[in-house]
Each structure stands twice: as structure tokens, then as C-alpha cells.
């Protein structure tokens, strides 16, 4: 058994399968290739060196060429190790997010129920009962949102994004979502300003997927604007694209965090100071959706000044 386990360590294909990496991105496989190249390099250098002893320039050139090959292979190995390190970071982040963001509403529910039971249900007044039901609703919604986002990401990574494309009226979707967000914006003292160009052409995309992106942009703009402010939402046709943009006067994204903003589970440091809830999955999902639609997504942001998030999708 021990001998079998020992031999399995040399089964490169099995090792690579374990990490879920293609062969050309698997460090074990690349190490073997590098070993072979090193041996070939050493032998050929020896052979070439002895044959062309009178022409050292040729030997130097060939050695240089082989060194280049080795350099490229080590670069690829380094990249694949980075990918493994990134996967490990994601796993830790996943555990952290799930342990905190899922446990927080669970604790709220658990302790609320315990309090109701200890007080005796027959003694509970109507207002207390309403508060209790509101707590149940809010916290179950929080858990549902996180689990849904995790499921979307998991499905996206496993099977890719499946689109049910149809002619989609973006103006209608944006209008609908803005009116649905009004209550949330009002309660946060934020004014939503909508500027939709009239008679926009429809786009052939999956409406349920684009709703995720629009919802994420508007929701973030409201959530990360502190005190009061204006959130401007624009929908326009520009050349052969439909462009959507959400501008806020919120906390903005620090410059050093901007390059990570579309990464899975990433949340900017300053954002954690204002809003402790959040999974860091919304913008990752948004980027994946827009990429799949053949569009482009981006943002401009200044810390303490605000952000403008935009996407454009081609009209086909």
C-alpha cells in the first residue's frame, strides 16, 4: 500500500487532474518537461561544443537559444504556481466569506428565536412579533443572496455561462429596476437620476443575466454612497453599442485596489469600513456576464469622490 502511494506521487497525470489544471499549466508536468529540456541541452551543448570547437560563436548562439527555451519554461512554471497560489487564496477567502457572511444572519436568527422562546410566545406583543418577522425576513434574504451568488459563480466556473438569448429591451429593464430601487435609495437619502435615450434598439442577449449586472451597479452605487447624494444612471446608443453607466458620489475605490476590483471575493479596504456585509462576488459575476456577451466593462473611480461603472454591449 505504501509502495503504491509512493509510486502514485510520480503519476503526473493524476497529480495534474487533482488540481483541475490543463497539462500545460500543471507544475508537475512542466517540471518533467523542463528536466528533459535540461538533459537535452546539456547533451547537445556537449556534442555541438566538441564538433564545432573551432567555431565558438555557433556554440554560444545555440547555448543562448536553449537558455531562452529554459527561461520560457520556467516562466510558465512560475505562472502556473501563481495560479495555484491564487486558487489557495480564493479557497481561504471562500471559507472566510462563508463563515462570516453566512453565520452573521444565522446568529441573528438563532438568538432572535431564542429570545422569543424565553419570553414565552403567549406574552409576545403584536409589535414585537412584527419586529421578529422582519428580522427573519431580512436575515433569510441576506443568506439567500449570498448562497445565490455562490451558486451562480460555481455554475459559471463549472459549466460556463448558459445564455437564453432573446431580443431584449434594456430601457425597460433599467426603468423597472430603477423604480424597484427607489425605496432603498430614499431610505439611504439618495436621489436616483435616470437618463435613458429614447427608442433604443433591442439587443439579442439573455435578459436575466444583464439584470444581474444592472442590479449590481445600481445597488453598489446606493450602498456605498454615505449620507446623501445623487446616483446618475445613463443608457445610450453609441456607434454600434448600447452603453450603460452608473455614476455615484460614494466612497470610491483606492487606487491600489482598483486592479483587483473584478476579482472573485475581492472587497476594497475602504469599503469594508463602511459596509461590513458583502461577498465580493457581484462585480466578478458582472464582468463574466459582460465578457460572455462580447461587451466591455470598466470603471473610473477616485477615493472619497465617487465611482462611475459602465458597460457596453454590441448591437447585433
Amino acid at each position: 500500500m505504501k509502495a503504491k502511494n509512493f509510486l502514485q506521487q510520480f503519476n503526473i497525470f493524476k497529480q495534474c487532474k487533482k488540481y483541475g489544471l490543463p497539462l500545460w499549466e500543471c507544475p508537475q508536468f512542466l517540471f518533467v518537461i523542463m528536466g528533459i529540456v535540461i538533459i537535452i541541452t546539456a547533451i547537445s551543448t556537449y556534442l555541438i561544443g566538441t564538433r564545432y570547437l573551432d567555431n565558438p560563436e555557433t556554440v554560444a548562439l545555440i547555448t543562448l537559444g536553449l537558455a531562452m527555451v529554459l527561461f520560457i519554461i520556467s516562466f510558465i512554471i512560475n505562472k502556473s504556481l501563481e495560479m495555484l497560489a491564487e486558487a489557495s487564496r480564493m479557497k481561504s477567502e471562500f471559507v472566510r466569506i462563508v463563515s462570516h457572511q453566512l453565520r452573521a444572519p444565522l446568529t441573528n436568527l438563532k438568538w432572535s428565536i431564542e429570545m422569543m422562546i424565553s419570553e414565552g410566545l403567549e406574552n409576545v406583543r403584536e409589535k414585537q412579533l412584527l419586529d421578529f418577522i422582519r428580522t427573519l425576513k431580512e436575515n433569510s434574504n441576506r443568506m439567500e443572496e449570498l448562497v445565490n451568488n455562490l451558486l451562480i459563480v460555481s455554475r459559471m466556473e463549472k459549466d460556463g455561462i448558459h445564455e437564453k438569448k432573446e431580443n431584449t429591451d434594456l430601457e425597460k429593464i433599467v426603468n423597472q429596476f430603477v423604480s424597484e430601487s427607489k425605496a432603498f435609495a430614499d431610505s439611504s437619502n439618495i436621489q436616483l437620476k435616470l437618463d435613458c435615450q429614447k427608442n433604443l434598439p433591442t439587443v439579442f442577449i439573455d435578459p436575466s443575466k444583464i439584470k444581474l449586472v444592472i442590479e449590481n451597479f445600481i445597488d453598489n452605487a446606493i450602498r456605498y454612497t454615505k449620507k446623501r447624494g445623487i446616483v446618475e444612471i445613463k443608457l445610450r446608443k453609441y456607434k454600434n453599442n448600447i452603453c450603460f453607466e452608473v455614476k455615484d458620489e460614494g466612497v470610491g475605490i483606492p487606487k491600489e485596489d482598483q486592479k483587483y476590483i473584478f476579482q472573485k471575493f475581492f472587497r476594497a479596504r475602504n469599503v469594508l469600513k463602511y459596509q461590513t456585509h458583502g461577498s465580493g462576488l457581484g462585480l466578478f459575476i458582472a464582468k463574466s456576464v459582460i465578457d460572455k456577451m462580447g461587451g466591455k466593462i470598466g470603471f473610473e473611480s477616485k477615493e472619497e469622490k465617487g465611482s462611475t461603472f459602465w458597460f457596453k454591449i454590441p448591437i447585433r
Binding site: R103, E114, Y274, T276
Partner: protein, 126 residues
């Protein structure tokens, strides 16, 4: 009456746990973020300092570790016992909190309301 400063950003927990503590005879001072918590831990001259602090770690404005460090680093407040009440369970967080001077570290999801009350009373020597 003993006073407990409860630094926690979850409004639901402030309500449920705060109420339970009051029913047990404690005076509860709520703080919804780290900055407010720090101010209330060391009120201006004449103000009464809390007898105990219940501290969450993930907090807006200033996280729990920063609050803990400030309170334990200040001569005026360093003797106030602090119970860390959080949902972060990793050992490095536990070690860091204890190292910074927390009296004990409780993972919310692993305790019932009653058990946390018992711990609070233990720490207060009741």
C-alpha cells in the same frame, strides 16, 4: 448596576442581545461602529467607564482589533475586561485577540444567548 459597552454593527444583535442583557440587570451602551465604540469606552471627565466591553471584530470605520489595541494601550481603559464576540473562528484571529489583551474569545454561532450571558457574568465576577 454594571455597565456593558456593546460594540456590534448588527442592529438585530444589538436589539436582541442588548435587551436580554438589560433583562439580566445590566445597563447596555450600544455602539454600531469601531469609532463610536472607542469614544464610549473612554468618556470625557466625569463620565462612567464601562465595566465590560463586548466587541465584534468586523466593524465599520475601525475594526475590532484596532479598537482592542487602542483600549488596551490606553492607561485609562486598559483594565476594562473585553469579551470578543465574533463569527471569525480561525486560530490566528483568536491568538491575535488574546495577545492584544482580550479576556476571552467567543464565536457567536457556537453559543446560545444564555451561554454568552453566563460568560459575561463570569467575567464580571457575578
Amino acid at each position: 448596576m454594571k455597565t456593558i459597552l456593546f460594540i456590534e454593527d448588527e442592529a438585530t444583535l444589538q436589539k436582541t442581545f442588548g435587551k436580554t442583557l438589560e433583562e439580566e440587570g445590566f445597563k447596555v451602551i450600544p455602539a454600531l461602529d469601531g469609532d463610536i465604540g472607542l469614544k464610549l469606552a473612554n468618556p470625557p471627565a466625569g463620565g462612567k467607564k464601562p465595566d465590560l466591553i463586548l466587541l465584534d471584530l468586523i466593524l465599520p470605520r475601525r475594526n475590532g482589533f484596532e479598537v482592542l489595541k487602542e483600549i488596551k494601550g490606553d492607561e485609562e481603559t486598559k483594565d476594562i475586561p473585553i469579551i470578543v464576540l465574533t463569527n471569525l473562528e480561525t486560530m490566528d484571529n483568536v491568538d491575535r485577540a488574546i495577545e492584544l489583551g482580550a479576556t476571552t474569545y467567543l464565536v457567536k454561532a457556537n453559543y446560545s444567548l444564555r451561554e454568552v450571558i453566563t460568560k459575561v457574568k463570569q467575567v464580571l465576577g457575578e
